[in-house]
Symmetry: C2
Subunit: 692 residues, 2 copies
């Protein structure tokens, strides 16, 4: 029994973990001396005592003498083995852990430096390269006899580009959300891709308000289009699309040359994607040159500089009290996400960073105002969300002026009319040192030109109309697509159903106007409609319900006139997709997938000499928009509208969640790293109030 | 003996480290079975065997039976204890280490988020504050009856500021190297400090060339002056100093108000420090509006945009081959550190990043040219250094044109004359898409105005002259100091010595012109001179040597005429301190130290009603410039001129060393973090070629 204990102890020692097992065999006499040891030394002490016990026991048994241990102790004669205290052991282990960690980290750093060292090129790469003569001196042609860029100077730059040289030419106008989503989902080897855009970077627009006050840096929100293009071995032309000649399949583009002269030329296409986005909607208001916009990086920089300029002028001894209050009155016109987020960021800046180094008087005299034409801010969001945002702003001393329409922006004030609860309009003025104009979007000049060119088929004043396959209405089928803010999907569900029903009625020999529709007929129609207009599914469900009700009461028939009215209502709702990054992104991805399919389909088709017909419908389903929800930052808290009545709003945790969403959606690993760095920077050092 | 071994073994187990000791007692029979174990399992096997040995031995001795272990084995009857293989153990330890590391890192991240969460202020701080009526409505006065900013709106913002309110007013003009060094070394409680500067940030100028091509971000090179000022509880006015009224002790400053109108007012001072820096020297060359400069952040941004614009236009199909070559011809005029570093960074950009995403044709047609008026680039550096730089550039295909003077900068070319080896001047032209002008510095408008106002006492055309205590010559003693590029220290050593010697001569009743100076006399003079002109020490040593030589040959006398000639030579050398950050920094630190001393000295002096006299000389030693060396980046290699003939030049290691120096010199923890991030960014993602 004893022996077994000892063996267990020794094995236990070897494993060190279950050392406590051995306490059982400690003789009572030893317990006293153990008690004298500091409690922390207990584990080692036990080990030691144990071992002595074993040793003594061996001697005892060898001599047949089972006397007490105490008597035997002097016989040992040699000094007690040194044991380490738990402090020493802990330090030893902590040291070991620290040592290993430092070594691993050190190796990481050294590794990074070694990697870094490989990124410096020492020798220039100047080898002979092939450039087509046609690329250097393009032939002229087209309606205006301009140079046609059929071949590019980098068409032979690498093997991949050489292989794509004779593939169908896919030209993308614009490098925004739609264009970039398309590029990121496109197969690399199917098309000769060219992107034409006046800026050579993609801008992550949803976080632009954060950049205006220095929470984020401009460079963290942008990614060079060339870098994104390199995946599909594409080409980039920094120029502005001016016109499209649909019959010649030519895009007319303009660029300012080094002498400041405008140069125009053509870029030919086989497939054209129009994704030029939108411009700020002036709503016919006077004096908008006194206001600031927020569409691109330059706008954001102008805003940042103006805000800091106002703060600096407000500090000067010569600035009067009224003037200081005016300079520090920041007015935002537009209660959509951009306006709300800008107001929130502005408030953060003033509240968190201004007071650190600027005179305290400024903080007291600052005011932020938000002018909204509707009765609530964030009116496209769930009602609870906009209520939350309004409460938050009320607490944060951001003045929200609802039911107000701006009449004029003057250099030193903004004039607006506010609808009173009794319905009367009152004209008011607000001194303003800064006015942001963010009240929705309207068509670009190119889109207006194209819509006019295409005539009656384009009846929407706000965007280019496409069918549900995103093909621009009025252009040769399968040539031209339009995605993103510049486009809208025409869901002519009503027309389609009505035609179908008319046919049905005549077939039954009845006048359609007095047709009583049966539920079974309706199911047939609905099935067909769902396939052609996936967007309408939810609305058709509503009709289903309606029918079910009719079915109960009046044996499943519906009056034709009633039905047409209902369908028209659905139509108008379907046509207005939101002008958001989300929609553009989905359309870009959809189009890329279809183009990928079409590229492989066309091989088979051209083998069979099939060139016409509704290839898009044959190749891929129609576009369907899935609303994934909306979110907005409202000053140390954020709101999420997840659609269908679900919404969340909260404080700091929601802010982190809001950031996480955008972090995940960000365009590249590079921008993600930069975003993380920026947020850490804000936490550590605050926002820097410098203008340049 | 056995027992002792066992006890040692068990103690060894407890310590685990010296477990090998126990192999001795393993019975030979067991060795065979041990051999069957994998070598990696040896340690655990030994432990186990040992323990069994102990167990068996106990039984053996108890029974008085000392038979072999092999016979005893079956008696044990129970399964052998499980031992872990070294792989399992290693994994266990690695897992533990990883676990601890992840936990520590995780805690770090959580800690950071918790800290971050505290940086969001939820409630606005709008408390009542005291603002002097005089700060809101300053009284008018001075030569032009302008408002005088005697009290500031933030004078009562906090306790520290309140305490400094009635301290002597120290006004610093400029927030460059000199001004910032002064602020960083000044005692917080001695002065009411005000900084007046047209920009509200300090710019780390030596790294500006890196920012032009995106190696570094602009924001990594700047630090808000307000943040630096907060240490001394100072005040900042973003305005431009226009004039100084020395008799009224008023600085006249101008600022543009929100309507674009210039507003002027006075800022009173007790002590004024002029540190306004310098402007680019036009050298009277025509067409400089076609060239770019590199003095501030806006210049750097303009350059960055122009470079990228040129690259983009060069990609267009309508750009002819000649035009493309011209657009890609980058010319730098000036072979000093700025010009050389810009050329090097430009070359890096073109070599490392351009080829990644731009057409390869561009790389072949790009050229970088460096025009230098002297016979070598970096001509202020050691000769080996400039030779190294020239060799490096020759290898990197950066064309260095020495002995060349620019005559005119045209929009599409640069015209210069080059001195041929035979001494003739040849006029040459170079097509240029971009011209950088970086050929030294000249005086700002303010300095010119002040020099003119002070009259003959300011005879230097290039800078304001001060005495060795950095007091501006011609102004009331101890009122006005000038430091940095805008100033130069007048070391009138010659005048001083000559006067001294003249006195000496007349005392001896001799004509000074025929005075033969003895070595002992000279030592006396030198002692006095050293104290007043610390800068001259090295030169005086040379004189000492010279004297020693004369001493040997002609019994220690020197001709007065010879001496004067020598002294004048020394003088002219001493007066031209380099226009570098290093000098400005040293002067700023020196002045701060002196002002700290003066503040406490003045208490005693005012108690004794002493107001005049050379307080500066009484309080602190004269300024002495210590040249710590110069360094320059020359394209994946760097050169260090450590002074007195010592110089180092090398490849990548030198680049890292060069960065380390600037990293250490950087103005704040914030900028250091950002610099490190930027360098890591360049390594990971390259430079981003985007313009905005």
């Amino acid at each position: 029994m004893r022996a077994r204990n000892v063996s267990q102890t020794a094995a236990g020692l070897a494993r060190t973990a279950n050392i406590r097992q051995s306490t059982r065999i400690v003789a009572p006499q030893w317990k006293n001396s153990m008690a004298k040891l500091a409690p922390g030394r207990l584990m080692q002490a036990r080990t030691y005592i144990n071992v002595s016990g074993v040793r003594s026991e061996i001697r005892d048994r060898a001599r047949g003498n089972l006397g007490s241990f105490v008597q035997l102790r002097p016989l040992s004669g040699k000094p007690l083995p040194q044991v380490n205290s738990w402090v020493v052991n802990f330090c030893y282990r902590a040291g070991a852990w620290l040592g290993i960690s430092v070594t691993v980290l050190g190796l990481g750093v050294v590794g990074f430096f070694l990697y870094d060292a490989t990124t410096y090129k020492h020798e220039g790469e100047q080898s002979d390269i092939n450039v087509s003569q046609l690329a250097l001196q393009p032939r002229r042609g087209g309606p205006d006899n301009l140079p046609i860029a059929e071949v590019f100077i980098d068409d032979d730059d690498c093997e991949a580009k050489k292989q794509n040289k004779d593939k169908p030419k896919l030209v993308v106008l614009g490098g925004g959300w739609g264009g970039i989503a398309l590029l990121k989902s496109l197969n690399p080897d199917d098309y000769h891709v060219t992107v034409i855009s006046p800026t050579n970077y993609f801008l992550f627009t949803p976080m632009l308000p954060s950049a205006t006050v220095g929470t984020l840096e401009f460079r963290s929100l942008v990614e060079p289009i060339r870098r994104i293009l390199s995946r599909v071995n594409g080409h980039f032309i920094r120029a502005k699309a001016e016109d499209v000649h649909f019959s010649d399949k030519l895009v007319e583009v303009s660029q300012v040359d080094s002498e400041g002269k405008e140069v125009r030329f053509y870029v030919p296409y086989d497939k054209l994607v129009i994704a030029v986005g939108s411009v700020t909607n002036p709503h016919g208001v006077k004096g908008l040159d006194n206001a600031f916009f927020l569409k691109d990086i330059n706008d954001a920089r102008k805003i940042r500089n103006q805000v800091i300029r106002n703060l600096e002028v407000a500090c000067l001894p010569t600035t009067s009290d009224d003037e200081r209050k005016r300079l520090l009155s920041f007015v935002v016109s537009g209660g959509g996400p951009t306006g709300v987020e800008f107001a929130a960021e502005m408030y953060d800046l003033l509240n968190e960073d201004l007071t650190r180094h600027f005179p305290r008087l400024l903080r007291n005299e600052i005011s932020v105002h938000l002018i909204q034409s509707r009765s609530h801010i964030l009116n496209t969001y769930d009602e609870t969300v906009s209520k939350y945002a309004e409460d938050r702003f009320a607490r944060d001393q951001v003045e929200v002026l609802t039911n107000s329409r701006v009449k004029e922006v003057c250099p030193d004030k903004i004039v607006f009319t506010q609808k009173q609860p009794d319905g009367t309009l009152v004209t008011k003025e607000l001194p303003a040192g800064f006015v942001l104009w963010s009240t929705g979007v309207s068509q670009t000049a190119l889109c207006q030109k194209l819509a006019k060119k295409l005539g009656d088929v384009q009846s929407n004043r706000h965007a280019l109309e496409t069918d549900t396959h995103l093909r621009l209405n009025g252009t040769p089928l399968g040539d031209v697509y339009a995605i993103g803010d510049c486009s809208t999907v025409q869901n002519n569900v009503a027309d389609h159903i009505i035609t179908f029903l008319r046919t049905l009625a005549w077939k039954h020999g009845k006048d359609p106007e007095i047709l009583q529709l049966h539920f079974n007929d309706w199911r047939q129609v609905a099935h067909d409609v769902k396939k052609r207009f996936p967007q309408s599914v939810n609305h058709l469900k509503r009709l289903d319900k309606l029918f079910a009700e009719f079915d109960k009461d009046q044996s499943g028939t519906l009056d034709f006139g009633e039905l047409r009215e209902l369908l028209n209502q659905i139509d108008s709702k379907l046509t207005s997709l939101p002008a958001t990054a989300q929609r553009a992104h989905q359309q870009g991805c959809y189009l890329a997938q279809k183009l990928n399919k079409l590229a492989h389909l066309s091989e088979g088709l051209s083998a069979n000499d099939i060139r016409d017909g509704d290839l898009d419908a044959a190749a891929y389903k129609a576009f369907e928009y899935h609303h994934l929800g909306s979110l907005a930052y409202i000053g140390n808290s954020a709101v999420f509208d997840l659609g269908e009545g679900w919404s969340v709003a909260g404080g700091l945790w929601a802010v982190y969640a809001w950031r996480s969403v955008y972090f995940a959606q960000s365009v590249s690993f590079r921008t993600r790293c930069l975003l993380a760095m920026d947020w850490a920077k804000r936490g550590l050092f605050g926002r820097d109030l410098m203008s340049f």
